[in-house]
Symmetry: C2
Subunit: 298 residues, 2 copies
């Protein structure tokens, strides 16, 4: 199972794998192309199917094991993909690698949002001599374009919902609370917190089923990168689950941050959207970011 | 069951009653004091127990019935209390009372948030010659003070959560999406949309139970009046449900907009909070409103 470098570039890439489909998707793609890589599986989050590849399973907080494993294999580049549901267990932190300064940074970040935590992890990796790259730098075809993806165009009736969603998602992102909102008409009916996008869409489906959202049809899921978010980590991600959830919630479509969002299983995801009659559009990133009122405030 | 005016002031007050405990609470209190009133029960929302008082049950959109009923009884003042879960059924609008201008206003508001809808209803009432008053003007003891309500003080460890919650709830309110957020440390983990505060607290309890919120204990529910919200309608409300929900979610306490929040069943609610070890505090409204970046933007 040891995967020797095969492309002459030498050092393997490390995939720090959280939950969801992105890490496995990326691993399969790299494997198909014979790109050398190792997987750091975050316990409780990473898909067990990743154990098929060269891997180590670690608790998020076991910094010493990360480090030794990557040094032993000559890793120079790492990418962080997938969701981290749990929060690191502070009791497991081993200060043999990190300096006290770094531990202090992590502990501070633990009380903040995902973005703050991830920035601290990235800084720690970089202090350890590693280069952190975005999944889209390894697999450019993962990235949503700033254009319509499927066959369904955005109806005029949903334009105002998209505009309101951009404002709301940017406000939500500025709080470092989440990336996604659901808008009906111009009414923001759901905002993503720690529950994640899929659970939020299920909530909208439930509210609609019991008549809490009125009779207005349609509505839009808008998912954007947080203002000031490091594009290399925790990029907004959509896939087949997202399309299924949006369809269950009775939405008209999905609008994402063009050139700043990962689309998993692109072909099937687009086909699902087409089949469900949902539009799927990557928004012009300049238009999205024009409403940013400044950089991240914390 | 006809309730004749008994205090010499003549005209009865109309309680436009949505869901939740506030309308019944108010009706009982007025009845105890022999203040004349009638209840307009919004179908599907109002507590059936209100039928004990002089009432009419109407669909939110049946404006003509509202009007005639109130005119017949000489109503001059109305108060809108409780939550409106559904959205008015546009098909039921009867344009015999409202002008086209008013209908246009309602239809526009339907696509917006609760606040926009309620402002349109208030404008319509006022155009109809009625005076709209806040529930706290009728029952001043419903209003939370800007002070600690129970025995438990706010621990120093939760001050930062309250501060972050004020910022987040104000941002949420500026979107006209909701009034309440839950903050752990300084991480905003849940934001209230159409689901309401109780459902949001249940979500936090569920996320905590499955370990999605890490090991950090405590956390705060912050509930504020929306920036620019008409204080006479849809005031933030808490009660025994809120305390029970916050306790289930493992929170340390509840912070509300002092002098701008209704506290139902005040004595029992405070006793419940004390028994659960939760703090319950009304925040200084000047401190809350200092972070408003301007009036409501829509």
């Amino acid at each position: 199972m040891v995967r020797a470098p095969q492309d002459g570039s030498g050092a393997p890439l490390a995939i720090i794998a959280g939950g969801g489909q992105v890490p496995l998707h990326l691993a399969r793609s790299l494997s198909d192309k014979n790109v050398p890589f190792v997987v750091v599986m975050l316990e409780g989050d990473a898909d067990p199917a990743l154990a098929e590849y060269e891997h180590i399973a670690v608790n998020t907080a076991e910094l010493s094991r990360f480090k030794r494993y990557m040094l032993d294999r000559g890793v120079e580049k790492v990418t962080l993909v997938g969701t981290v549901k749990g929060r690191p267990d502070i009791g497991l932190f081993r200060p043999d690698w990190t300096t006290l300064r770094l531990i202090a940074r992590i502990v501070r970040a633990l009380g903040k949002g995902d973005d703050a935590l991830l920035r601290a992890v990235v800084a720690m990796m970089e202090d350890g001599g590693l280069t952190v790259v975005g999944a889209h730098e390894i697999e450019p075809d993962l990235l949503a374009p700033a254009a319509r993806l499927g066959k369904v165009s955005v109806p005029k009736s949903q334009q105002a919902a998209i505009e309101a969603g951009i404002v709301a998602a940017n406000a939500l992102g500025a709080l470092d609370a989440g990336q996604a909102v659901v808008v009906l008409g111009t009414r923001v009916v759901a905002l993503e917190g720690a529950e994640g996008t899929d659970a939020m869409l299920q909530r909208v489906a439930d509210l609609r089923a019991i008549g809490r959202l009125g009779r207005r049809k349609g509505g839009v899921l808008v998912k954007l990168r947080k203002p000031g978010q490091d594009i290399r980590v925790d990029m907004p991600t959509i896939g087949r689950n997202t399309v299924a959830g949006a369809a269950s919630a009775g939405l008209a479509g999905i609008a994402v941050h063009g050139e700043n969002t990962l689309v998993m299983d692109r072909q099937t995801t687009i086909a699902d959207a087409d089949a469900a009659g949902l539009f799927l559009v990557g928004l012009d990133p300049h238009a999205v970011e024009r409403t940013w009122t400044g950089e991240h405030t914390r």
